[in-house]
């Protein structure tokens, strides 16, 4: 290892890259943090009268939150009353009263362990950078990089990381429903696509606000 001038462009680039690595590693903790959601493939509606139990996703009923919204509530009522699904044309009248019980089954996406692993992976890229470069890091420089990395994270990385986290969450929920519904093959569901589109924005806002 040889000494270079204090502010050589290469050295600045080396430090900047390491600061970025630290802030990105922290950002990955936000992006990959765990959350729970209703698994549309396993959640059920149980009909009060007949006692029949239906998986919601395969019957084109879904929730991206904790309970069925009015659009899907109607579908569940019709399913229990008439044993039908996908009555998008409203051929059947929706029963007045709730005739089913919703049994959500929660599943967890990601874990803190996963988030830490990704952060460690990004940090190990930094270590590789150090090994490949001609510079060494002493304790003072390491602390300097860590502090600046944290500052950079709070100033520029945290917000976009949170946006990606919320997008990841919504993507997972929508894909979870579609994978469940299309087991027998993809069919056009324009009404559902439109409905999902309409509920995504408020859901996204809610996620960003941390609710």
């Amino acid at each position: 290892m040889y000494q270079t001038t204090m502010y050589s462009p290469k050295k600045v680039a080396f430090f900047t890259a390491n600061i970025l690595v630290v802030s990105l590693a922290l950002g990955s903790l936000i992006i990959f943090r765990p959350y729970s959601f209703v698994d549309n493939d396993k959640a059920k509606v149980i009909c009060v009268e007949s006692g029949a139990s239906f998986d919601i996703g395969p019957n084109f009923i879904y929730t991206l939150e904790d309970k069925l919204d009015s659009f899907n509530d109607q579908k569940a009522r019709k399913l229990c009353q008439y044993n039908i699904i996908r009555d998008y044309g409203n051929t059947y009248q929706t029963p007045d009263k709730v005739n089913y019980q919703f049994k959500p089954v929660y599943t967890k996406d990601s874990s803190w362990g996963d988030a830490i692993l990704i952060a460690l992976t990004i940090l190990s890229l930094g270590i590789l950078l150090v090994k490949l470069s001609k510079y060494t890091l002493n304790l003072r420089n390491t602390i300097f990089i860590l502090i600046l990395g944290i500052v950079l994270f709070f100033l520029f990385i945290k917000k976009p990381a949170n946006i990606i986290f919320c997008q990841r969450q919504i993507a997972q929920k929508v894909v979870n429903f579609k994978n469940s519904a299309f087991k027998g093959g993809v069919i056009p569901i324009p009404e559902d696509d439109q409905h999902i589109k309409s509920i995504i924005k408020p859901l996204y806002e809610k996620c960003l606000q941390g609710r």
Binding site: F32, D109, S110, S111, G113, D114, L117, I118, L120, T121, L128, K131, L132, Q167, R168, I170, A171, Q172, V174, V175, K178, N179, F182, K183, G184, G185, V186, I187, P188, D193
Partner: protein, 711 residues
Amino acid sequence: MNTFNRITDFSIVTLFITNVWIILFTNILTFLSYLYPPTTNSQLLRPISFPNPFKIPLYLLLTITFVIIIWVFNTVKNHSNPNQVKPGETRNLLLKLFFLIILLYLFFSKLGSYPMAHEYYPYALRPDKTIYNLVVFSYLLSIAFIIFELSIIYRFIKRSLLISTFYFLLIALVIAFFTFEARFPISGHDYSFFFGPILEIANGKTIYTDIPIQHGFLSILSMAFLYKLLSLKLFYLPAIIWLLYIIQYFLTFYLILRISKSIGLALIGLFSIINLNYFSLSELPVSYPQIGPMRWLPSLLTIFLLYKLKKIDNKILLTAVAFLSLWFIDAGISLVLGYLLTIFIFCLVGNIDIKRAIKTILLLCLNLIIIITVINILHLLFGYKLIKLGNIFHTLQKYTSLGIAQLPIPNQTYFWLVMLIYFASLIYFFKTSYKNKKTIQVGDASGRDQSGWQSWKGSHQRAEFFQPSAGSSTGGKETTGRIHFDSTILLFSANLMFFTSIYYLGRAHPHNLFNISSLPILTLFLLLGNTINYLNPLKKIILFIFIFSLFIIYPVLMRKISLSEMIIVKLKRLTQGQIFKTEMDEILTKRYSKELSLINKYLKESGVAIIHNDDTYLLYLTKKKNLLDANPQVGIDTKDDLAQAIDNFAKECPEKVAVDCSVFAKCQQYVGINQSGFYPGSLILLAVEKQCRIKYQPVECTKQLCIAQKK
């Protein structure tokens, strides 16, 4: 302690990489699936597709990227930190163990539940469940007894060629016993994709040019050759599949034995594969030709050939890869890609230079061209047309781009074990190849044959990966060459496993995990075989008990009901007599004798059109030529398929045709021998009527078939 430290390090690195790969793969795939949701395709005749254009490219790209990253890290580590244990390293052991436990926990949490655990489809649950315990207990006891006995025999036999041959014959007999299905049952649907094309080719149609093929190329051609020229009875195809199963499982055993030099490990490996690849399925695997050796044997054969020929660019091996890649199309592509990836990794670690790699690839291409040319010349000599090579990928394209019968991969799946085995094998290979280079450079200053392993002559010495290496007492060219040769076999097996596993990735049904299991299990046992020799006998026995529990007892308990029922069915079949006589002829004659008489009464011409769910079997019975260019018709999935199927028919527009009676509403829709849930009979009839500008009306019907005449 050093050995334990190295195992811990190896496990940590492997688990770390695998976990990160899974996290990235599942998240990126989810995001892409969300941004570009699956759409329906107007080409399809029914909604059976679930296309995901990102799944396979992402799997390939991400893994290749990881391979390169592992190589970069390994190279950097080896240059900056010689492969020695630092004095203070053992102090961190507790921390390492803690990290290892966390990584193991994270990995196991991604596996989800055991595939098809406690499911019993298609069998009915018995009221008295003790029979399951009884069957499973007897099954496990038999396997344990056979492993024990065969191990004892192996220890006491003299190592002569003759006695070894007898011993291997005994192993083959054991495999034959476990995989034999009396009276050769078939699944009508699966076999129709073999019988149909075989019949068509035997009747003069050219493969791919006149008739679409679902799976094979050379497999179908060779069967058609056996059927037409050697008068092989069509329904003895399951017997051939049985023989191929014996070869496949035997090769697995042989490779593990040769690499590990441990009969115990080889026998446990053999029964693990039989247990997972054969007995864990729901129905008798011989009945389903596409899931067994038809698909996987070419890969096994090339690994075996590499073992025998020693050089990755051996010309015989190259010819074999080219030839076997044409056996079964999708498995063939995996074989070629697996081979090319091995060459690429060899280039990375410097075992062969770029010039030699390019020469090898060019030779492979040349071999492919020569084989295809020879096949075409033979076709012309026998009076067939030239093969339309563009059509070879038609079915594959249907499955990949249209997404027919594809299923999304769940976030939690046992498939991640395949990736764990893959990365473990890769890391092991990179480490040993670096070690090998280092030792050879020290031991062979002349720089002759840097790849080293070519010079192996069967030394019984073993250098151990997990033992300190530099200047070790076991060093020396032969041993190092040997260890590198063994890890080359491991690398090749791992690469083939990586590509063949795409089969599950496409249709991620849990039962496909068992279908693809033979190569992952082989690779895992080769890895164990590479590293097992540092253990003392007691530790080996403990390891064997652990592996036996993990790969035999645990899967058996998870599939207890289904496995018991399968064994009961097998035993019942054995007691029914005439075990080597195929049952299919009797079944067909019994089911379709009236229909056969009706067809013979009305359709006198040599060429007929039978629009029926069981077209393959009716054509077999009538021994007539098919006017439709599709066999079986259940393989017609798209408008293009339909247009191609009726093209020649429309030129003749025959006076009479045989049609499934349900198409004319003369009978209820029923499941034929084909047992297909969908049959496009009405669509075919409509299409031919439209093309010929006529209408067919039924004149006489049985309960399964009508003869229809032009009106």
